[in-house]
């Protein structure tokens, strides 16, 4: 955090937003249009949320010209970052904001899904709360519809409210073509090729849930988004799988000998 302040001290006359989005750790943010920032309507209610609101806004819009000491400048600087974040949450759900975030998404600038079966699907930043200072930013994968922690601690400390709880869902409503096809591919824990009973029973239960959902959707004639050919693969796989019955099941002797050494 100090890093920003010292840098901006020297050249705060340059565009503050340019500097902000290009500084380390702020890769998730897009640049908010000047027009959007200067329209007071877009900032409704933020004056109570941000300390030294007017100075912070001046700083963000590059019209800051107050003579003050370093401590004061530091405070205003951090207020400006907070203000930028809060406006950012509003901006990214506007048409222009969505386009900017979409570009970043397509370049996978928010990272890629760590889940192996998602095959590096790009992620989107999101917040678990719209109220600031509650939850840090998380990353949403549209393929497995789950949330992940950012890899880097720089990103893990960003406030989730700067992205909000709605943006990543709105983007797929606005651009339905971007919805990735869903996959039933999954990891099944095995021991020497045999499924483990506890995990396999859970998988069967989950598969029933999924089939129920697909049946519901088919009845309503809604596209479920799964690639159909996978249904067949799944059935085939079921047939040749033998299950390893947990701890109380019989051991496979050939493999046991491999581990235990000759008798």
């Amino acid at each position: 955090m100090d890093e920003y302040a010292s840098e901006s001290d020297s050249d705060y006359t340059s565009y503050w937003r340019d500097w902000f989005i290009s500084s380390r750790g702020n890769e998730y943010f897009c640049e908010i249009d000047e027009d959007y920032l200067t329209d007071r309507f877009n900032l409704t209610g933020l004056n109570t949320e941000v300390q030294y609101y007017q100075y912070a806004l001046d700083l963000v819009t590059d019209v800051f010209d107050l003579d003050c000491d370093d401590d004061m400048r530091e405070t205003i600087e951090s207020s400006a970052r907070h203000l930028y974040g809060l406006v950012h949450a509003r901006y990214i759900v506007t048409t222009r904001g969505l386009t900017k975030m979409l570009d970043k998404y397509k370049k996978a600038e928010f990272g890629k899904c760590p889940r192996v079966n998602c095959h590096s699907h790009p992620l989107l930043p999101m917040g678990l709360s719209d109220i600031p200072n509650l939850k840090p930013v998380k990353l949403y994968c549209a393929r497995c519809e789950d949330l992940y922690n950012p890899k880097s601690s720089r990103h893990a400390s960003i406030d989730g409210a700067y992205f909000g709880t709605s943006f990543h869902n709105i983007i797929f409503q606005v651009y339905p073509a971007l919805i990735p096809s869903k996959s039933i591919e999954r990891y099944i824990p095995r021991v020497y090729g045999f499924k483990v009973h506890a995990a396999a029973a859970l998988v069967r239960w989950q598969d029933l849930k999924r089939d129920d959902m697909r049946r519901r959707l088919r009845k309503l004639e809604i596209e479920s988004g799964f690639r159909e050919e996978q249904m067949d693969d799944e059935e085939e796989e079921e047939e040749d799988d033998v299950e390893f019955e947990g701890v109380d099941g019989a051991n496979t002797n050939t493999n046991m000998r491999l581990i235990e050494g000759p008798m």
Binding site: P114, R115, V116, N117, R143, C144, E145, D146, L147, Y148, N149, K151, T165, S166, N169, I170, Q173, P176, K182, R186, Y187, P189, R190, V191, G193, V196, H197, A198, A199, A201, L202, R204, W205, Q206, D207, K209, R210, M213, R216, L217, L220, I222, E223, S224, G225, F226, E245, G246, V247, D248, G249, N251, M256, R257, L258, I259, E260, G261, P262, M263
Partner: protein, 342 residues
């Protein structure tokens, strides 16, 4: 930590100390020296004999008075340098004058061979014990999934055949696999850990309380499941994917309103992170017998005794739970191979 009887500068310790090799256990020399454990590896690794000698820090048999050269060789990481030193000191004395290319081939063969032995070792009694210590220290990192709340992961491979895929992390809390966060692990072959280790670990150490997180885990007194916990499908019921189910599934919302399943962008993958509210719903044998009360009597009996009832004996191997201190040959423990349960 180390059960290797070698010196700290042994090939094995230096291999395990390389960046990116943090997940590897140090395979004990006893394990490698038992030829049975290496069955079939000769055909998978080029220059097998030389590679094995390198791993065990054994000098080639026909080199007699070359201790100096060998020491130099050990200290040098790169094969090329080592070879040059060797050439300088006594090229004419050598029966096997190794070419620079030879050494680098042996080095990479040794890595491959070590990895393949490692795949077998971590499924052995001593090896899995060593991996459990690494797991306790959190050497394998934690699950990136937000709702798993930093559950500790295990390194696994998606294939047992080398060269197919890199090492992945298996999260016992959500039963899914993830790409390790650091790119240095993307050069580590998944086959060096193998497909079996992750699941076998959970069967071998069922008493790790998978619902414990972060600081709780460090105070190791309460990170074990008490023995009176209920058991289901061969595991402690509370340990079956504790990171899944109600409260651990992401529900998409727009301005506080849930996105309907009927929307095209609505949720489709929640099943993947679901788990029954009442976990006994997974007791398939009991459910089957409730629905088919008059099915085959004889089978009925044995099934009911085996699975449907809550067993008194906790899952897992009782002997392993006592954590024996042996680090010797895996042979030593099984006087009667037939009773081995691992």
């Amino acid at each position: 930590m180390s059960t290797s009887s070698g010196t700290p500068e042994s090939w094995i310790s230096s291999f395990c100390a390389l960046p990116g090799h943090e997940y590897f256990a140090e395979v004990s020399e006893e394990f490698i020296e038992d030829d049975f454990n290496l069955t079939g590896l000769q055909t998978q690794v080029a220059m097998y004999k030389e590679a094995l000698e390198m791993i065990l820090d054994v000098e080639p048999e026909d080199d007699e008075d070359e201790d100096e050269d060998e020491e130099d060789e050990d200290e040098n990481e790169s094969g090329e340098d080592a070879d040059r030193t060797g050439m300088r000191h006594g090229a004419e004395r050598r029966h096997h004058s190794r070419m620079a290319s030879d050494l680098s081939v042996i080095e990479s063969s040794a890595e491959m061979l070590y990895g393949l032995i490692h795949q077998r070792f971590i499924c052995s009694r001593v090896g899995i014990q060593q991996m459990s210590e690494k797991y306790e220290f959190g050497h394998f990192g934690c699950c990136p999934r937000t709702h798993c709340e930093q559950a500790r992961t295990l390194p696994v491979g998606l294939s047992d055949i080398p060269g197919e895929d890199t090492v992945k992390l298996f999260c016992p809390s959500c039963l899914d696999v993830y790409v390790p966060p650091n790119s240095r692990f993307q050069t580590v072959d998944g086959a060096f850990f193998g497909r079996t280790f992750g699941a076998l670990f959970l069967l071998t150490f069922p008493e790790y309380d998978l619902t414990k997180r972060g600081a709780d885990v460090l105070s190791s007194t309460n990170s074990k499941v008490p023995e009176d916990e209920s058991i289901l499908n061969g595991m402690f019921a509370k340990n079956i994917a504790p990171g899944l189910g109600g409260g651990h599934i992401y529900e998409p919302k727009i301005y506080g309103f849930k996105v309907s399943e009927r929307a095209r962008s609505g949720p489709r993958m929640q099943w993947l992170r679901d788990r029954p509210e009442v976990i006994t719903e997974l007791d398939e044998a009991r459910l089957y017998h409730e629905q088919n009360p008059d099915s085959d009597e004889e089978e009925d009996e044995s099934m009911a005794n085996g699975r449907a009832l809550v067993r008194r004996r906790p899952p897992g191997n009782a002997r392993l739970r006592q954590r024996p201190n042996h680090s010797g040959s895996p042979m030593a423990l099984s006087a009667n191979g037939a009773e081995s349960e691992l």
